[in-house]
């Protein structure tokens, strides 16, 4: 199947221009794209699933991205964004695998980020329509958009934090006046956010050098309930417990009309300020724990050992979000740029329940409200300024990270800062970016040096470094894990990218 898609893409590359030339359509087609190779190296050995593993290549990837716009006339456009990605790591793990399928030795995927058609001014001059697979971004801030909920983020690669999960949707834009734009979007089917490969570590138990249980991640229960749960295991020799890899199941919304999503926006523009009022009804795109069970049974193969299976279920709660965002240039403050976003979230309540069984006997049960139904706020407030020709600074305060939903972890506070320095006529750019969790002081730093070798060809070298403790300050407190310190956040790595834009 994948091969067929790839073949079709290649055919598109080859045939489209010639067909266009034959039909005189060439002027209607605009092609652009990107070739990028990306090599990353883990620069630590303690944040992975196995202690001591590290200082190895984490990614060896090659992307070919094509963006095509076909405009038969001024009021119609078809847009295609495709990505061919080679992953660079052999996945064949046996001898037959080397002769069975090249895809195992050189795995790749084809991804389509956008494929939609749009009309403009049809049938009325004040109306635009869009339908198909697309990626939308709402909000005024850079990246950290609290009101941007139509497409969840694709955090498979945490460094590519602007990448999103595309979805099929229908959009209507109405322009009743120069200063006002009204937008309505309907998304029939919900799609969840993609998570980094490190995410399952959030459910993994910790073992010591002898393979004996040392701790397990606290579920979203009260400290007292988690203490009681731990006491169950305290009476057992930790070295006798065989913990299986936790199984985390997704409880997905059904494909019904009632489970579709809608968004609406009224965007205003006056003088030096743009602002928008938004509304979204749908689901929170990051998983929220709501059910778990631990089952202990004597091992049938290892006398004296106890097998422990842990099964959890996560869900995507409904929510309504009323939002406001603005961007403004402050002439009274040195022309500083100011952006703000405020989202008031009305969540569906989520109650978490955990049961523990010894054989068939239930030995523990606890429940807790993981997400209360009370409304809460997520917000972004930022400022940016160009100090000199070569120095630009952007700083933001965040109330609530992408994946925070006022569950037992809470809604945390962050400071995001970026300084960009340019040298040699902008051919060398040094960007120093960082995020600090103000509540637990964990952080992530992302220094990056970009060399524009020649226009269109760039080399980037940098690092993505997580700071903070991998273990929580209180093992019984779900909220005590450090945001960027915990292993589930990911690994620290250095990277080298070479990118060609055409």
């Amino acid at each position: 199947m994948l091969r067929r898609v790839l073949f079709a893409l290649c055919a598109l590359f080859v045939l489209l221009p010639s067909a266009a030339r034959a039909e005189g359509w060439l002027d209607m087609i605009s092609l652009s794209g990107l070739l990028e190779t990306d090599v990353r190296f883990n620069v630590e050995d303690y944040r992975g699933p196995v202690e001591g593993e590290g200082y190895n290549f984490a990614i060896n990837r090659n992307d070919a991205i094509l963006h095509a716009e076909i405009r038969p006339h001024d009021s119609l456009v078809a847009v295609f964004d495709g990505r061919l990605r080679f992953y660079g790591f052999n996945t064949a793990d046996d001898l037959p695998g080397l002769s069975r399928d090249r895809n195992q030795v050189d795995p790749f995927s084809v991804q389509v980020d956008q494929a939609y058609v749009a009309t403009r001014g049809l049938p009325w001059s004040w109306l635009d329509l869009k339908a198909g697979r697309m990626v939308q971004t709402w909000g005024s801030a850079d990246v950290f958009n609290q009101v941007d909920l139509l497409n969840p983020h694709d955090f498979y690669d945490p460094m590519d934090y602007v990448r999103k999960v595309p979805n099929q949707m229908f959009e209507v834009d109405v322009y009743p006046a120069d200063w006002l734009t009204l937008t309505a979007v309907w998304i029939p089917v919900f799609k969840p956010a993609l998570l980094p490969p490190s995410a399952p570590l959030g459910f993994a138990v910790e073992t010591d050098a002898n393979g004996c249980l040392s701790s397990f991640p606290a579920p979203p229960l009260s400290v007292e309930d988690n203490q009681a749960l731990a006491d169950l295991f305290a009476s057992v020799d930790p070295c006798s417990l065989n913990f299986a890899t936790p199984q985390v199941n997704l409880y997905m919304p059904k494909y019904t009309f009632a489970d579709s999503q809608v968004g609406a926006r009224a965007k205003f523009s006056f003088e030096t300020i743009d602002f928008a009022l938004t509304y979204y009804y749908g689901r929170f795109p990051y998983p929220i724990a709501y059910n778990a069970a631990a089952v202990a049974n004597p091992s049938t193969t290892q006398p004296g050992k106890v097998n422990v299976d842990y099964v959890a279920e996560v869900m995507y709660p409904r929510m309504q979000v009323a939002g406001l965002d603005f961007s403004y240039t402050a002439p009274w403050l040195f022309d500083v740029g100011i952006v703000g976003e405020l989202a008031v979230i009305f969540p569906e309540q989520v109650t978490f329940g955990l049961r523990a069984y010894q054989g068939d006997a239930k030995i523990y049960e606890a429940t807790s409200v993981n997400v209360p139904s009370t409304p809460f706020i997520k917000a972004t407030f930022g400022m940016d300024y160009t100090f000199t020709k070569w120095l630009y600074v952007n700083a933001m305060y965040l109330r609530g990270f992408f994946d925070e939903f006022n569950d037992a972890y809470g809604v945390h506070n962050y400071v995001v800062a970026t300084a960009e320095l340019k040298f040699r006529s902008d051919s060398l750019k040094l960007r120093l970016a960082g995020i600090l969790n103000v509540d637990d002081l964990s952080n992530v730093a992302n220094p990056q040096l970009t060399w524009v070798i020649t226009p269109g060809l760039e080399a980037l070298v940098g690092a993505f470094i997580f700071g903070g403790k991998t273990t929580p300050s209180n093992t019984y407190d779900y909220a005590a894990r450090e945001k960027f310190g915990q292993k589930a956040a990911g690994r620290s790595f250095a990277y080298l990218k070479v990118r060609f834009t055409f």
Partner: protein, 264 residues
């Protein structure tokens, strides 16, 4: 990156400075016989008004532009872009090469600039402070480029004149300006802006525009090359106008945020 884009948008003004219209009537040939009557002496305001009329005197304009930035050590890099302009206010710049390809900037006035960022798939308003950044390391900055009407914000006098040129001296009305004075050399025959010199508050020349290669573009004359340099360092930027057409009937709708983000 956003800052670079903004300055690129403002390039429009710099390019406009180089404009000269072939349709401008040639000065009358003096009669060969008796001594001609002295031409009425123009005031500095009239000279400037004629120069600005040349710069923005079309219903709309479209330029294909190549910018080449020269380092002092001789290395260079080039970017291509297309600029659309309507009247003397609205303009749209689309980057067509290099790492900024796909980026578009809409300039409505100094306080209303929007940029489409393809990497983010969104339109963002650009703060005024970003106007101070250079484009891709070029010698162009916002204060140079944002001068739509010199008459509005600068005091004006005629510094000198010679056989071919008027030399206008402008001093800023606002103390916020980075420049203490600006000189324009204006061609006496065509009122085209030939050179512009910028001086900082220490009286040092910090930037120089020189317009050359007067060329016929589809019946309209325009300087094909604009060289912007920093006399202190020798760093320079050359803007080559690859193509230039006017009065193509560009719609107002092209110069809107709606257009900026549609079909991207």
């Amino acid at each position: 990156m956003i800052r670079s884009t903004v300055v690129a948008a403002l390039l429009v003004w710099g390019l406009a400075l180089a404009q000269e219209d072939a349709s401008t009537p040639a000065p009358p040939t003096p009669p060969p016989a008796a001594a001609p009557a002295a031409a009425p002496k123009l005031s500095p305001q009239e000279i400037l008004a004629k120069m600005e009329a040349l710069n923005n005197g079309f219903a709309d304009q479209k330029m294909e532009i190549r910018i080449t930035v020269f380092e002092v050590d001789g290395s260079k890099k080039s970017y291509d872009m297309t600029m659309f302009q309507k009247g003397d206010k609205k303009r749209l710049i689309q980057f067509t090469s290099g790492e900024m390809k796909g980026m578009s900037t809409l300039v409505e006035d100094r306080n209303t600039v929007h940029v489409y960022l393809p990497g983010f798939k969104k339109v963002r308003r650009v703060a005024a402070h970003n106007m101070n950044q250079s484009l891709a390391g070029s010698d162009l900055s916002s204060e140079d480029m944002a001068q739509v009407s010199w008459a509005a914000d600068w005091n004006l006098s005629l510094e000198k004149e010679d056989d071919t040129s008027y030399w206008l001296l402008l001093t800023p009305k606002s103390a916020d300006s980075a420049y203490s004075k600006v000189q324009h050399r204006v061609d006496k025959k065509t009122f085209a802006q030939q050179e512009t010199h910028y001086f900082n508050k220490a009286g040092e020349e910090v930037k120089r525009f020189v317009n050359t290669n007067f060329t016929d573009f589809h019946g309209v004359m325009r300087n094909k090359k604009i060289t912007v340099s920093d006399p202190r360092t020798g760093h320079r930027t050359e803007m080559d106008i690859l193509d230039f057409v006017v009065n193509q009937g560009l719609k107002d709708d092209l110069f809107t945020v709606r257009s900026l983000q549609w079909g991207k």
